[in-house]
C-alpha cells in the first residue's frame, strides 16, 4: 500500500457495504448497487482507446507523389450530400480530428488518401483512393489527445503517423464487474433506488449489497477484517490495517467499536427500505474498498438478426467484431432434441442458417443443375431444400470418389418412412 502510494491515490472507492441478501438478484456473487451512489459518482470511470494511423511510402513506387497523405476534408458545395459531409464534421483543415470533438459511429477522424500507382508510371493523372480512419465504436467517444509524429529517421520524408486517443466516461450498469481486493469479484445484478435500500437509525445507507454466501467457501477473512477495521478507522479518522496477517487485533477493534456505540462484531440493526420495518437480523456492514474491473457490458453486448455470412459454408459468421450470430452448438441442439422441438431445430439449423435449394434426380440421387437428368434420361428431378453446408459435404465426398446417394421420399409418405 505505502510502497506504491495506493492509500493516497486509490483506483477505487470505499464502498459502504451491507452483507445481506436482497431481492434474489444478488445470487452467485452478483452485487446490488445504490442508484443514488451511482449518481454521486460511485464507480464512474474514464475508458481510453488508442488508434494509430500511419501514412506509408508506396512499396511499388517510392516517388513521393505516391506516398499516402492526409488531406483536408471536402468542402461543402451545392451538390454534395449532407450525409456525405457529415462524416467529416470533426476534422480540422489538416485532415485530423479536433481535440475535444465527439465522434459517433461512422465518423472520419483521419482523412487519409492513398494514391494508386498506375501501370505506366509516366501518367500524370493518378487516381487517389480514400482510405480514411473511420470511427467503429458504436457509442460516442470524445477525442482526448492527438499526436502527430514524424517517424522517418532523416526527417526529409513527409511521412506522418497520427495517434488518436479517445475517451469515454462510463457509469456502472447491469453486468459491469466490480471487485474488492480479496478476489471477491462480482457483477452488478440490480440497481436499486436509494429509498428501497436498507438504512439504519443514523441515516446510513449502503452503496452496495453483497451476498453473504460469498464468504464461507472462499474463507476471505481479510475482507471481514477490512470491513470491521474500516468501520473503526472511519469513526476514528485513522488508517487501519485490515490484513489477516498481523493487522489489527479484531477483539480490540470490536471493543473500540463498542465504546463508540456500535455492535462489537460490526453488525448493525437495519430498517428495510421496502417495508419500513426493522429487519429480523443484524447486518454486518461497513466500508470495503471496491475497484471497477475492465469487463464492461457495453464492450460485450451483441445481437444480430440478418448479417454477414461465411463465404464457404454460407452460415453466419462468428464473433462480435464481425457482427456474427449466436451459435446453436451441440449441447444446445441436444436440448432441442431432448425436448422434441423438431420444428424449432429445423428452423435454427436450416432456415435461419444456410437454406439452399437443389435439384435431385430420383433415380441416380445426384444433384442436378436443372429439372432434367440427362444421365438417367428422366425428368423425375425434384427440388429439395437442405443446408448449403450439407450440399458442400456431398460435393466434397464426390470429389473423393464417394457417392452419397440421396433417396427421395414423397412428402406424404415421409411419416411412414421415418416410423420404419
Amino acid at each position: 500500500m505505502e510502497a506504491v502510494n495506493q492509500h493516497r491515490l486509490p483506483a477505487g472507492h470505499n464502498a459502504q457495504v451491507a452483507v445481506m441478501s436482497y431481492s434474489c438478484y444478488d445470487i452467485e456473487d452478483a452485487l446490488i448497487m445504490n442508484k443514488s451512489s451511482l449518481d454521486r459518482g460511485f464507480g464512474r470511470t474514464a475508458v481510453y482507446k488508442k488508434s494509430v494511423t500511419e501514412c506509408e511510402i508506396n512499396q511499388r513506387n517510392k516517388e513521393s507523389r505516391f506516398n499516402e497523405r492526409i488531406d483536408e476534408p471536402p468542402t461543402k458545395t451545392h451538390n454534395t450530400k449532407k450525409k456525405f459531409i457529415k462524416k467529416y464534421h470533426a476534422l480540422d483543415s489538416d485532415g485530423i480530428t479536433k481535440v475535444g470533438a465527439q465522434l459517433h459511429h461512422g465518423d472520419i477522424y483521419v482523412n487519409k488518401k492513398t494514391p494508386q500507382v498506375p501501370d505506366n508510371p509516366q501518367i500524370e493523372n493518378i487516381q487517389i483512393a480514400d482510405t480514411p480512419s473511420v470511427f467503429k465504436e458504436k457509442w460516442p467517444y470524445t477525442v482526448d489527445r492527438v499526436l502527430i509524429i514524424n517517424n522517418t529517421n532523416d526527417g526529409t520524408e513527409k511521412i506522418k503517423t497520427v495517434k488518436t486517443i479517445f475517451r469515454q466516461i462510463r457509469r456502472p450498469e447491469f453486468g459491469d464487474k466490480f471487485s474488492s481486493r480479496h478476489g471477491q469479484k462480482g457483477v452488478v445484478g440490480l440497481i436499486v433506488n436509494q429509498e428501497d435500500m436498507p438504512f439504519n437509525e443514523r441515516g446510513w445507507c449502503p452503496d452496495l449489497i453483497m451476498n453473504p454466501h460469498g464468504y464461507p467457501s472462499r474463507m476471505t477473512i481479510a475482507k471481514l477484517m477490512e470491513l470491521l477495521c474500516g468501520k473503526l478507522g472511519a469513526l476514528e479518522g485513522k488508517f487501519k490495517y485490515g490484513t489477516a496477517f498481523g493487522g489489527e487485533n479484531v477483539l480490540q477493534v470490536g471493543e473500540e467499536l463498542l465504546k463508540r456505540g456500535f455492535h462489537y462484531q460490526g453488525k448493525d440493526c437495519l430498517i428495510s427500505g421496502i417495508t419500513g420495518e426493522y429487519m429480523e437480523c443484524y447486518v454486518y456492514q461497513g466500508p470495503i474498498f471496491y475497484q471497477r474491473l475492465k469487463h464492461m457490458v457495453i464492450d460485450k453486448i451483441h445481437a444480430r438478426a440478418k448479417g454477414p455470412m461465411e463465404k464457404l459454408t454460407r452460415q453466419p459468421v462468428e464473433g462480435r467484431a464481425k457482427d456474427g450470430g449466436q451459435r446453436i452448438g451441440e449441447m444446445e441442439r441436444d436440448c432441442f432434441l431432448a425436448y422434441g422441438a423438431s420444428n424449432l431445430l429445423i428452423e435454427r439449423l436450416l432456415i435461419s442458417s444456410d437454406p439452399f435449394n437443389v435439384y435431385v434426380c430420383e433415380i441416380c440421387g445426384m444433384f442436378k443443375s436443372d429439372s432434367v437428368c440427362r444421365g438417367c434420361n428422366t425428368d423425375k428431378v425434384y427440388q429439395i431444400r437442405l443446408p448449403y453446408c450439407c450440399k458442400l459435404l456431398f460435393q466434397e465426398l464426390l470429389a473423393m470418389n464417394i457417392k452419397p446417394k440421396l433417396q427421395l421420399v414423397p412428402s406424404h409418405e415421409r411419416q411412414e418412412y421415418t416410423m420404419n
Partner: protein, 54 residues
C-alpha cells in the same frame, strides 16, 4: 510563433511546449528539433465544451 494564422492548425511541441504552426506540406517538426507534436485544443464557438449528465 505567437502570431497565429486562423486558417492553419496549431500544435504543441512535446519537448519545449511552444506552439507550432504547420501547413500540410511541412515536415512534422518543432523548431527545437523534436518530432512529436500534440494538437492544440481550440475553442469551438459552435460546439462549446460542456459536462455530460451521465
Amino acid at each position: 510563433m505567437d502570431i497565429q494564422d486562423a486558417s492553419r492548425v496549431v500544435y504543441i511541441c512535446g519537448k519545449c511546449g511552444k506552439d507550432v504552426q504547420l501547413e500540410a506540406k511541412d515536415i512534422v517538426r518543432c523548431q527545437c528539433g523534436y518530432r512529436i507534436l500534440y494538437k492544440k485544443r481550440k475553442a469551438d464557438p459552435k460546439n462549446p465544451p460542456q459536462y455530460e449528465a451521465i
